[in-house]
């Protein structure tokens, strides 16, 4: 296999978002299942799938619908040719939960008498990536990364590798996860979720325990510098890293090392920390996690401008493993439009005004990993 041919930065041609309702709702389990109800951010509105043939839409499961709809937004009217040079890389933390549960419940209840093959087909983890390829005819590389809270970030890294090595010219990168009564119940038993059905306000109440589950899909259409694309000023993503933390947990988090981690990502875009207009954190409102983010924010203070913003986005979608896709898509929109998307809650810096031309997305998923990427014009 050959040496590197391209750069580790890619242009963002389009973004797509499918988000839950702006407020969490109480999610009820089926009447005959012994699960407790609990609050969650849920996509109650059917995603817009007009770009896809009805025959395909009928076969899609919940996550697949969200992912294909987000992909359709990201692709919009961009002509992507040749199709075999378009890769797909999707991150999902838990995969196709609803269809898997449906298949299992049915198998157990009916002692395997009436299996549901369509549910089995949709339970396969790479079915969201496959359906994006089928919907848009992309025959290039197709990969699904399913690694907890860095699933999307690894998918983004994988897509960049595909572009960088010349295996693809374009890549549709996405992240998707769905919520279900099982996720609500099991997460509550494990102490992940809080009971209160109220909007998350990350990094504002560090004594609160637990966050809220959510769902959604985010997509980015990215291309290498070898792709023929319309003239324009496209956001560029670089400095993508996602790794286990050497020492997991909030208490022993080395905030100065995290500042270096973030700074190295910004440097890959030729920026210093003082050049960054927006730091978009993956904080989720759980006190323990938020305290880690606050520690990093404090360590960043000496290096960033007074008018630089620190913002969060999980107040708009809740917590799910692939939520990094929402953060990355929002950061790309912010840089493209020069303005703050409504889904971002600012916790430091001005609420309005000021052009955004450089954003860094930073997360500490489960306090076991850290991830970062820089989006700049």
């Amino acid at each position: 296999m050959g040496a590197e041919r391209g750069s580790a930065s890619v242009r963002v041609l389009g973004t797509g978002l499918v988000l839950g309702d702006t407020q969490p709702v109480m999610l009820e389990p089926p009447a005959d299942i012994a699960l407790k109800r609990g609050p969650a951010y849920v996509c109650a509105t059917a995603p817009d799938l007009r770009a896809v043939t009805p025959g395909l839409v009928r076969r899609l499961g919940r996550s697949q619908r969200m992912m294909v709809a987000a992909a359709a937004q990201a692709i919009a009217a961009t002509a992507l040719e040749p199709k075999d040079m378009v890769s797909v890389a999707i991150g999902t933390g838990l995969g196709m939960v609803a269809d898997t549960v449906d298949f299992l419940e049915n198998m157990i209840r009916l002692d395997e008498r009436e299996p549901r093959p369509a549910k089995f087909i949709n339970s396969v983890h790479n079915s969201a990536a496959a359906n994006v390829a089928i919907a848009f005819g992309f025959t290039g590389e197709n990969r699904t990364i399913i690694h907890e809270g860095i699933s999307f970030e690894l998918a983004l890294w994988q897509a960049i590798r595909s572009l960088q090595s010349g295996r693809s010219l374009f890549a549709l990168v996405g992240g998707v996860d769905e919520v279900s009564p099982y996720i609500v119940n099991v997460g509550r038993e494990k102490g992940f979720w809080r009971d209160a059905c109220e909007k998350l306000k990350p990094m504002t109440r560090p004594r609160t325990r637990g966050t809220l589950p959510g769902e959604g899909a985010g997509a980015l259409l990215v291309c290498s510098d070898r792709a023929r694309i319309p003239a324009g000023s496209w956001p560029i993503i670089s400095g993508v890293r996602a790794r286990p933390l050497g020492v997991p947990g909030a208490r022993r988090l080395d905030a100065s090392a995290e500042v270096e981690f973030i700074g190295a990502s910004a440097a890959s875009a030729g920026r210093k920390l003082e050049d960054v207009d927006l730091f978009l954190f993956g904080a989720n409102g759980d006190g323990a996690a938020d305290r880690a983010y606050i520690k990093v924010a404090r360590a960043l203070e000496p290096y960033i401008r007074r008018d630089a913003r620190i913002g969060t986005f999980k107040g708009a979608c809740g917590e799910f493993h692939a939520a990094g896709a929402i953060g990355a898509a929002l950061a790309a929109q912010a840089v493209r439009d020069g303005a703050l998307p409504a889904q971002i809650d600012v916790v430091r810096g001005p609420q309005k005004g000021g052009r955004i031309s450089t954003a860094v997305v930073y997360s500490l998923p489960q306090l076991a990993y850290h991830s970062v990427c820089t989006v700049a014009l």
């Binding site: 296999m1 087909i121 396969v124 790479n126 390829a133 089928i134």
Partner: protein, 395 residues
Amino acid sequence: MGIVCAQGWSVEEVWKGVLAERECLAPVSIFTSPRCGHMPVAEVKGDTAEKSGLADGSRTDHLAAYAAGRAYDDAGLDSLTASKRSEVGIVLGTCTSGMIEAERFMQKVVREGLVDIGLLRHHECASPSNSVARAFGASGFRATVSDACASGASAIATACDAILSGEADVVIAGGADSLTRLTLNGFCSLLNVSPGGCRPFDAERDGMTLGEGAGVVILESESHARSRGARIRAFVAGCGSTCDAFHTTAPKPDGSGALGAMRRALASAGMSPGDIDYVNAHGTGTVENDAAEALALRALFGDRMPHVSSTKRFFGHTLAAAGAIEAIVCVLAMESGIAPSNLGLRRPDPKLGLVPVAHGAKATLKAAISNSLGFGGANASLVLTVGEEAATDGR
């Protein structure tokens, strides 16, 4: 290299079984299945938890950790400095992960109204990678790939990307999956499982056979391996992936997806079809898969077909482990100069225009392709080579 599968618990034992054309299919014993329990599967025998040395974990975690341990020893990674060992990366593929335990969880919820979350501790797909990381104190680059039946090969390709991009010098790569009631019932519901055991490329083939296991290889850059004096068993010379973009389960009938993956893998290796001496086909034994793959092989190689065999009947279709196990089989074939048998073949399907290796064929094998074709139209091919010193002249 490390393997655990129905053929045994070591590379040597497995290869011995392959050379002896040992059959190992039998009804499943690790769970009961009223409708599908009679179907033959390739189950790993023995106490997976004890063998793995893991204090806990799912059955898939056990398989992954065991195979990783054997590969770790084989590659002599203990000789790395402590800091180098901690930087080792891990990229594993899995489809089922902790599903067999999740099935017990669901059984309790549905039948008894009990929520036993302990059964879901190792449910997530990252669990095998994380278990291996804990077992070896590895905190470097880590990823889990789930490209259905192509996961193992995709994981090896992703691991190569990690090395080429400088994310890691050494990566533990491969795939692992246990048998589960979900997959057995799922494939039976698709009428894809052979009641008599798979017969890839046979005229009377009637479906696949599920298996379980893990295959793990230690990948590192050539310069890194040479600098530490490692024995280089083989090279991943090229990787190629495509997507059929055709159907979520059925392969594209013209085989163009599989053909594209092989062409890409050859291009990335800087090789041509004439350089390939052996192909380990995906060859599941389903009518559609084998027909499409045979078309792809004929389109690529024309009348200069190398030795071709599917080894699925030896191990069953081990899903995410298949690509890694079969890559290891390719290396063993090259090292020993024997193209393995296409076990189960009685009469090659004349419609396929392909005559697989009926019984182990002695030959000089310097380069091989391992194909993995999965649900979602995921196609992954690996080109593997061995150095001059490692290739045995089987003739």
